[in-house]
């Protein structure tokens, strides 16, 4: 008999820090100890707390172990499985309660979440359809096909208040209804798994951890809308998700849960995988469809909407992975149950990907209406190294930046929009006091500029011009007029662009201008970067009081501009030759290299000069 299950996280995060090796080492160790017949190892999808990886969960006790390296395995097996004691060394410490956590349920990161989409992630073997079936898998499809009419399914989804999880938040039931009403056949359904936002990985987690749930959701939706063919459009950068999807599809066909005559009802449904080639814009539904058709992935104006003219000119429904993954519980537990979560206009739960300067990086599923503070501090554990929270960027590269004063805002579609940001796919990049908001805006603008498909001039040229302006600000070459220019360009790009990429690309700029205008002014007027990030505006000096003369800085300097004082064990930087690369700052172990950005103040220039265009002349011209 198997007395224990070890669930080893095989999400991409844990795999990349040794999850696969962990499984092999565990297997060897158990065998060596003669435990291999009593203890089973299961590889699951992402459990959520990715920065604690590799993580594993031991059942029946529910003990959660973090950072399980191969070296720790023999001790762990000895302690936990032979001697029956907790191996405390690898138990996580709760950042919120500061207690050592003995079971998964006690860990704030998990305890405060409401897992609906992720209910199976980290609990089942995603490559084994039976484990999914054991957790009510395909029961919803069976129920729908054998006892519900398509209209009833749509009514149920409408009643649940589910809104599309891809970003725009269009009511899913209404979208399905539009498509169901289209008189043309054939119809298609598409799962949009082209998750391209940097820092967003909730779709990947679902596809890697619970792929059948997506297939089931698609089959239900296709039945409700009268489609018999579905496509999953997934980015090539997700090889593991593709592999597991392929396995899942093959298993579903083998068990007769995809293909012809499902549940003996005569309903047929086929799913194909289409792999994207790494263009961000292909997450936009019209571009995605063109890409599936084998054409260049560029968006088309809507209307006509995909429900009217989609793939190959036929009615098509596109939903995000997370949306499809929500269908099964709604059908099984009812619209009322689902609508009991969330706020008035945003029902249910949302998976957020926490990234950036936050203790618990990873995935958190919470009901809509949870405050930003609860997500970032309650679940995410706050900012590491006791730094100050500065802002959170929601909704991916085209989302906006939300400052600390709005931390108690309840997160839903409307509230984020009011703050100038968007829900997007649910990415949350947390920034602390060391983040320069102009640099952040430049980073995201660089991304959007690079990913602009180039179809419409506002986005193609506008993002490039905005990036150039931001570059000028970050390097201290900008004038006050450039901020106005930036602002007016941003509105043009927002209002005139064809698709969501261009329309939202200025969001980081617009929100940072709205909440952190002083930082822009500091860059432009005072030529300093308050967060000490923008390289061209930094000065490096050595505090000779504390310098121990170890020479690490001088050896790190790529331009050999750090010298030893004659006869002293002290070093100094020749500022004129310094390229502000920061190598000395990183190299020093005694905090003796000082990084400052005092800009004009340091050079004691009369304030009157600030407003004139001669500002630039007072600053030594920096080579890029």
């Amino acid at each position: 008999m198997i007395r224990a299950h070890i669930l080893v996280c095989a999400g991409a995060g844990c795999i990349s820090c040794g999850g696969h090796a962990l499984k092999d080492v565990l297997a060897t160790e158990l065998k060596k100890r003669g435990l291999d017949e009593e203890i089973k190892i299961v590889e699951t999808g992402c459990m959520g707390p990715c920065d604690l990886g590799p993580v594993m969960l031991v059942h029946p006790e529910g003990t959660f172990y973090q950072r399980v390296t191969a070296l720790e395995v023999p001790r762990l097996v000895e302690e936990h499985f032979i001697k029956g004691r907790l191996y405390t060394k690898l138990l996580p410490k709760d950042d919120v309660t500061a207690n050592v956590v003995t079971t998964q349920r006690d860990f704030s990161f998990f305890a405060k979440q409401e897992k609906i989409v992720l209910e199976n992630c980290g609990l089942i073997d995603s490559e084994n359809i039976e484990e999914y079936i054991a957790r009510d898998g395909y029961a919803a499809l069976g129920k729908v096909l054998t006892s519900m009419k398509p209209e009833q399914v749509i009514a149920e989804i409408k009643a649940s208040g589910l809104r599309g999880r891809g970003g725009a938040g269009f009511p899913t039931g209404v979208k399905w209804e539009l498509m169901a009403k289209a008189p043309v056949t054939p119809k298609y359904v598409i799962c949009n798994a082209d998750e391209g936002d940097p820092g967003a990985f909730m779709n990947r987690a679902v596809l890697e951890g619970d792929p059948h749930r997506v297939l089931e959701g698609m089959a239900i939706g296709a039945y409700a809308m009268g489609a018999n063919r579905g496509f999953i459009y997934i980015r090539a950068e997700y090889p593991l998700a593709i592999k597991r999807l392929n396995i899942a599809i093959a298993q579903a066909y083998k068990h007769g849960l995809l293909g012809k005559n499902l549940f003996d009802t005569g309903y047929d449904f086929d799913i194909e995988i289409r792999i994207g080639a790494g263009a961000f814009v292909c997450g936009e539904e019209t571009a995605l469809m063109r890409s599936i058709e084998g054409r260049r992935g560029q968006p088309m104006p809507r209307p006509p909407f995909p429900a009217q003219r989609g793939l190959w000119g036929k009615p098509t429904n596109i939903n995000n992975v997370e949306t499809w993954a929500t269908i099964k519980p709604i059908i099984l537990k009812g619209a009322k149950w689902y609508a009991s979560f969330g706020t008035e206009k945003s029902k249910g739960t949302k998976v957020f990907a926490l990234a950036g300067k936050i203790r618990n990086t990873g995935l958190a599923e919470v009901p809509y209406g949870t405050t930003l503070r609860e997500i970032i501090f309650g679940i995410g554990g706050g900012i590491p190294k006791d730094k100050k929270f500065k802002a959170v960027q929601t909704g991916g590269p085209s989302g906006g930046v939300i400052p600390a004063q709005h931390l108690d805002e309840r997160v839903d579609y409307e509230s984020l929009q009011k703050l100038g940001s968007i829900m997007g796919s649910g990415g949350m990049v947390v920034m602390d006091e060391d983040s320069c908001m102009v640099d952040v805006a430049r980073f995201f603008m660089d991304f959007c500029c690079d990913e602009s498909c180039g179809k419409c001039p506002p986005c193609r040229v506008g993002t490039r011009q905005m990036l150039n302006l931001l570059d000028r600000i970050c390097t201290g070459e900008a004038e006050l007029a450039d901020i106005e220019k930036l602002e007016s360009l941003a509105t043009v790009v927002r209002d005139a662009s064809l698709c969501g990429l261009g329309q939202t690309a200025p969001n980081p700029v617009l929100t940072t201008l709205r909440y952190f205008r002083d930082e822009y002014l500091a860059h432009v007027v005072e030529k300093r970067c308050p967060a000490r990030v923008c390289r061209e505006l930094l000065e490096f000096r050595i505090n000779e009081e504390t310098c121990v003369g170890c020479s690490l800085c001088a050896r790190a300097c790529p331009v050999h501009t750090i010298f030893k004082r004659d006869g002293q064990k002290k070093y100094y930087i020749v500022e004129d030759a310094c390229i502000q690369c920061g190598a000395c700052f990183d190299a020093c172990r005694f905090d003796s290299v000082l990084k400052t950005s005092d800009g004009m103040n340091a050079r004691s220039v009369a304030p009157a000069a600030l407003e004139t265009s001669s500002t630039r002349a007072t600053k030594p011209v920096m080579e890029k």
Partner: protein, 123 residues
């Protein structure tokens, strides 16, 4: 596949993952402290695991624990019932362990002659 087949498959599959769902009728806790292992607790446990499997018992989970403070009567096994009743068996060996499985875990009859004490359900 039809609904009936899906249901059957689900029942079969649930057995495989039941361990992760918690709450079983019986929880067998084997004391695996140093003294327990020295006295043969592992053999006792293995024999119980084999027997449980042989008899196809599903509502049982087996855990191990450290010292329980009964060093001189090891190997010790505690059977905890969902209702809260706990029975501790001591001085076990492989054969006795099989008996516990056969009588207590399968038929629900305590093996009185092996039990060392009974903890009543807390009020």
């Amino acid at each position: 596949m039809n609904l009936e087949e899906l249901k059957k498959l689900k029942e079969k599959a649930q057995r495989q993952v039941a361990l992760r769902e918690g709450s079983k009728k019986y929880r067998v806790v084997v004391s695996m402290g140093t003294s327990g292992i020295a006295a043969g607790a592992r053999e006792v446990m293995k024999s119980m695991l084999d027997e449980i499997e042989k008899r196809g018992l599903e509502d049982v989970e087996v855990r191990v624990t450290g010292e329980v403070g009964l060093e001189d009567v090891e190997p010790v096994v505690r059977v905890e019932e969902a209702g809260g009743e706990k029975t501790t068996y001591a001085h076990l060996d492989a054969e006795k362990a099989k008996k516990i499985v056969a009588e207590h875990l399968e038929q629900g009859k305590k093996v009185e002659n092996l039990a060392v004490g009974k903890e009543k359900k807390p009020e």
